[in-house]
Symmetry: C2
Subunit: 744 residues, 2 copies
């Protein structure tokens, strides 16, 4: 029999990831940071970034203390168990830590990347990519550390018993979900705050510098340049790190919880434990394969762009193919000896994982098609600049809306297929099929994210290269260096498209899995308050043995129930209102930045001739203050709305809210990410010399598109993925409250 001790493998994988992250970090630090000016600029950026992160953590800590206190009070009133508050805190802590380490590495790596790029394109790639890998490995390492340690503690000790809760696998896994909520909360603040910061600076710098004064990007004469570079670090690095920590941990935790509930009543001994272990094991093997992939990213010294792209793709593709193969091995090891009902489970569930991987690849390719200037759609957006900025906006919005078709259909097909594969190709909606099918959907998400170690590396090295370019520009290095870092940045955009596909797709699947966990938590809450039976029509069912379908019928969670429908409406609205708030936040903060930059240009004499130094710090302070101030309301709204919905509309309303938020949020997120990406690259396409090239009116029109796209793709869009999951997590943690008190 497979024993619990297998979790030590997960712990080893985690330590392995963290060790290699440390080695890569040390390697990077050994590189030369370049000239004194380069060092000085890098120090500026690093200081600004660290200062911001400290400010952000100060705000977030207060939110965490308040929430932990609420969970403590809930535990006192028997509405939640007594471990939740602490699990919540660790999730937030590790998520923040992942962002912090990633950012620290990035801020040390930028000047070193620029310096390496003076040698060759390949040297630049090596430094940037290895630094990105630090982030990737830290994220997966910390997540697996948190997961494995908590599991060992809760399963191995009597901690849950000590606080008066059950000690079964269902309670253990749903308790662990609350550390997912901690991670989501931290991630939302990091994404929203970082996103507002970076885009306020970026928009502000571009609007005055590029559009009004015609000076190039990252020009040291622009007072917002340092803030812009700081923004890349706090938004695109620290924000993304916290975000993906949340996605990765969330998918594993949700699937563990599904495994615990799907096989709770299985007659075969150990099935439940094995189902809980499977997602952890897949993730652990994924760490190994990611490492292999990372080491495969190397080329000859004189390699061109094409070889570099080839090297990157080789790394991610190899890891993806290997994890697909390895999954069959892992599943055979766990379930290969089963007979009867479970005889084919090992390969059927493995197929679900393959479905998830394929879906991620398709979404990634579709993202690339719609957002890369190598393809028609983005070129058409660039072409529409011939008739001015308005048509650039119209065509970019149109493109984004159309681009939702392939990802949504793909996720739809993946949901059905993952469900069917896990059920031996049956679609019938029975209690057993449903829980095994949902487990299939969850494990498909785990599969998608299992090689995050390397996919995140390909994502994270982009902003490092971007910053290296900034450093090169500001320290007046040879134009060749800037060209090389730009090439690396562009390369990163293409590989990042695949990464984004995996992130968005997995969010949709994970959110579905969390729905089941919500119902499971409702069950626990009902039992906790003493409701041991459910009366459904004329039947009476034991709460403890009620299936998901029983709960659907008990609470009338069907599409004719007006309460469910109202919940769906509110969920759909939440996605829009949240984006509206973050968009406006960027708009407001950017406006302040524009005014400051204009003020400096007009009052500091000699600034435009490069004779006087701009007041960089003031711009950094404006972004910091703006982000800190603006991130609170939308983030707290995301926490409050599910609670209020529960208290007013009850369980069916909450489930409606989650589905409405998930469906609309998913589509809206794809729309915003792709519109933003297309605008960015349409501008690049014009800059490459098409439709009039740099400095033309057409170029100016595409800069307007790019500016609008900034909050789309880097603030509002990516925050939606977190919003969707955070609302589910909050609902899960608040289930006890919803069950005992609701208006309708």
């Amino acid at each position: 029999m497979i024993s619990n001790s297998i979790v030590y493998i997960v712990l080893v994988a985690s330590i392995l990831a963290l060790t290699f992250a440390f080695i890569f970090y040390k390697q990077m630090m050994k590189e030369d940071e370049g000239t004194d000016l380069m060092k000085k600029i890098a120090a500026y950026v690093r200081k600004g970034a660290m200062a911001y992160l400290k400010q952000q953590y100060k705000v977030v800590i207060i939110v965490f203390i308040v929430l932990a206190a609420i969970f403590g009070i809930m535990a006192y009133f028997n509405l939640q168990n007594g471990v939740v508050w602490f699990a919540f805190l660790t999730g937030g802590f590790f998520s923040g830590l992942a962002g912090f380490f990633g950012m620290k590495t990035a801020t040390y790596a930028s000047a070193r990347t620029a310096n390496a790029a003076r040698k060759s394109l390949n040297s630049g790639l090596q430094v940037a990519f290895r630094s990105g890998a630090v982030m990737g490995l830290v994220v997966v390492g910390l997540a697996l550390l948190d997961v494995s340690v908590w599991f060992l503690v809760l399963n191995g000790t009597g901690l849950l018993k000590a606080v008066g809760a059950n000690n079964d696998l269902i309670t253990i896994t749903t308790t662990m979900l609350t550390f997912g909520m901690g991670a989501s909360t931290q991630a939302l603040f990091a994404r929203v705050g970082g996103g507002i910061y970076t885009k306020a600076a970026d928009v502000g710098a571009d609007l005055v510098g590029k559009t009004e004064y015609n000076i190039p990007e990252d020009d040291p004469r622009n007072p917002a340049t340092i803030a812009d570079n700081v923004g890349d670090n706090v938004g695109d690095v620290a924000g993304m790190g916290a975000d993906l920590y949340e996605s990765y941990a969330g998918s594993i935790l949700a699937t563990m919880a599904l495994g615990a509930s799907a096989f709770a009543t299985s007659a075969v001994e150990g099935m439940q434990m094995k189902a809980v272990l499977a997602p952890m094991l897949i993730a652990s093997v994924g760490v190994l394969l990611s490492l292999i992939g990372i080491f495969m990213v190397r080329t000859k010294e004189n390699a061109g762009m094409k070889q570099l792209l080839g090297a990157l793709s080789r790394g991610t593709n190899t890891a993806a193919v290997l994890i697909a193969a390895a999954t069959f091995g892992i599943m055979y090891y766990l379930f290969g000896k089963e007979t009867g009902d479970y005889a084919n489970m090992w390969w059927q569930t493995s197929l679900s994982v393959v479905v998830g991987l394929l879906a991620g690849v398709i979404i990634g390719k579709a993202t690339e098609y719609y957002t890369s200037q190598s393809y028609k759609p983005t070129q058409k957006v660039a072409e529409s600049s011939k008739t001015g900025p308005a048509t650039v906006i119209i065509s970019g919005l149109g493109l984004g809306m159309l681009s939702t078709a392939i990802p949504v259909v793909t996720v739809g097909v993946a949901i059905v297929l993952a469900y069917m594969c896990a059920n031996g190709f049956h679609i019938e909606f029975t209690a057993v099929n449903l829980s095994r099918g949902l487990y299939g959907i969850g494990i498909a998400a785990v599969g998608m994210l299992s090689t995050l170690g390397i996919t995140l590396a390909t994502d994270a090295y982009g902003p490092i290269a971007d910053n290296a370019g900034g450093n090169a520009e500001m320290s007046g290095l040879e134009p060749e260096v800037r060209k090389r870092t730009d090439a690396l940045d562009a390369l990163g955009n293409t590989t990042a498209a695949t990464g984004k596909g995996f992130a968005i797709g997995s969010a949709a699947l994970t959110a579905l899995a969390l729905l089941a966990s919500y119902v499971e938590e409702i069950k626990i809450a009902l039992i906790r308050v003493g409701q041991t039976t459910l009366t459904i029509g004329e039947d009476v069912v034991d709460t403890a043995h009620a299936s998901l379908i029983h709960f659907m019928n008990y609470y009338n969670v069907n599409l004719m129930n007006p309460v469910v429908l109202v919940g769906i409406f509110i969920g759909a609205m939440m996605a829009f209102v949240f984006c509206g708030m973050t968009m406006n936040a960027v708009g407001r903060a950017a406006q302040k930045m524009v005014e400051e930059v204009r003020r400096q240009f007009s009052t500091i004499s000699g600034i435009l001739e490069g004779k006087a130094e701009p007041d960089y710090e003031r711009c950094v302070a404006i972004s910091t203050k703006g982000a800190q101030h603006e991130m609170l309301v939308p983030s707290i709204l995301a926490i409050l709305v599910p609670i209020l919905t529960g208290v007013i509309l009850g369980v069916p309303g909450v489930l409606g809210l989650l589905i409405g938020g998930l469906s609309t949020g998913f589509v809206l997120a794809v729309f915003m990410a792709n519109s933003g990406g297309a605008w960015d690259n349409a501008k690049k396409y014009v800059e490459e010399g098409n439709f009039g090239g740099k400095g033309s009116d057409n170029h100016k029109a595409t800069v307007v598109g790019d500016t609008v796209g900034d909050p789309f793709k880097d603030t509002s869009g990516p925050s939606l993925n977190i919003l969707i999951k955070l609302m589910s997590m909050v609902s899960i943690v608040m289930a006890g409250l919803t069950v005992t008190c609701h208006l309708l």
Copy 2:
């Protein structure tokens, strides 16, 4: 006992509406059309508009013939009854007719309004408003004509029996819904085609004329001016007429069908018939009250803006208050003598109507708050022009997204309250409560739209005034005239906000009511193919007597069913993809227009000095061709997707699709309408002399916003309301196919 003959009252109301429409039309025609130049320009516009409408009808007729043929074939294979194809055709015919009459009136009224405005503001208002009233009365008159005649024919003759169907009220009312599908199909083509036409011309005219050459709006030197004015007629008049015909008829038909099913098993004789009659009666009384309201819109000859606005509001408010009171009378007349279960029904159902009316008013006020330049939000969008077009776009998008909160929460509360009122203030989800509650929701929508005769008049006179302004400008009338028509136009924007609130809110409620009709049609289809029992768990239920809840359980239409969830995803996506297609269509058509206008400016010498006449017809032809070409794909998609979803995912998938489309579509529609309205008025606010006024860079930035807003508020946004209902109607008509053949 209340008898069927009451329907003759509806017929009388319909004839009354049409008679007064004819009288107002004749009155308007007696007015003087002004100078020869004014007549010539009006004739140009009229000719272009009629030519376009003919072209559009040519395309639409083919679509209708194909669809009618499909319904004929379905009837042959026993998948639908043999009346449907013909009912479908009449719905399309009358919807088109309403648009045609409204537009004919508008094109005759514009020069006359301009001429009357030479006398005074009030004279201008009278001509424009009475012409708008023609449209309002034609729409409600034709709708009630179609409804009452069909009901008399189906209920009074053995037509349904003759084609082998049942002759009960449920079959009668669901058959009548298919004429709703005809109306929706026509309306979608009219909205999409007209919307693309008008916005291509508008965007084209503005981008070159205003932005590049700095010549004013409606300047006769601009080759796209005539096309722009034609566009107002085919989009904002004909398109809106067909659209609201569809909303009005749809709400009545859906509620009749709900009444038939909710009281089908009632032991009290005549209840079912009375429930079917109630929505028709409310609408009929609404016609009378609308007439009273229309006659109240008059002021002293020397009235200022404020008095005019007062006069308009007095008209609509009086009609609204009176219909609320009258509803209690109607309901007392119908249900006042009931005892037992139905003793309080008369006033409880009346309260549902009041809920609907109030919700409409709140949404209207919220729309006004977010889109009028008298309030902060739009002023802030105008202010953001200080930092260029990009921040105008960002803040307008942010405003639109935030503005979804109030309408969605209002509709949510209205759904719950209308449901509870109709159930004697119970929310419990039982079969009886559900059907009566849904009936309450449906009749709330009927209440909202019951005074459409006057609210549509306040909507439709706006474009007439707009065109009058165009005519005044082009025929070189005194600037005072243009000022007056502009004032009338602005006034229209404010009153139209309320109208839009009613239209959007009623669409959401009607769509909910249609869900129940869909399930009812599924029941009929199951019986038709011989499935007389439903096995639900261990129970067996007679199909004929199964409740809505039985169907929910039979088909597992709950939020854990992956098929339902996939349907919801697809529905959410459909709303976005549809908007993306129409946005791109406008972008493409506008680009062609821009190129043509630029070509004329550069090749026709003397055009800018006003010495040579531009080639107006060529621009008209470009818009006509563009609209015709571009409207097909999105419209056909709206018909195909529900059919495909039914064939692949079956009944639960279709219900998911409809809910996903409804929730996301509703929120997206509000977002787009309000962003567009705010941009429009932000531009007007700057033109009024704020932030630099006309001609400043800030003004140019707001023109970009206005241009982006054009397809938002006049093409994609309003089409969504129709899309939502059309998808439901298609599903209802195709229920027979879904039941007999589906993949999952």
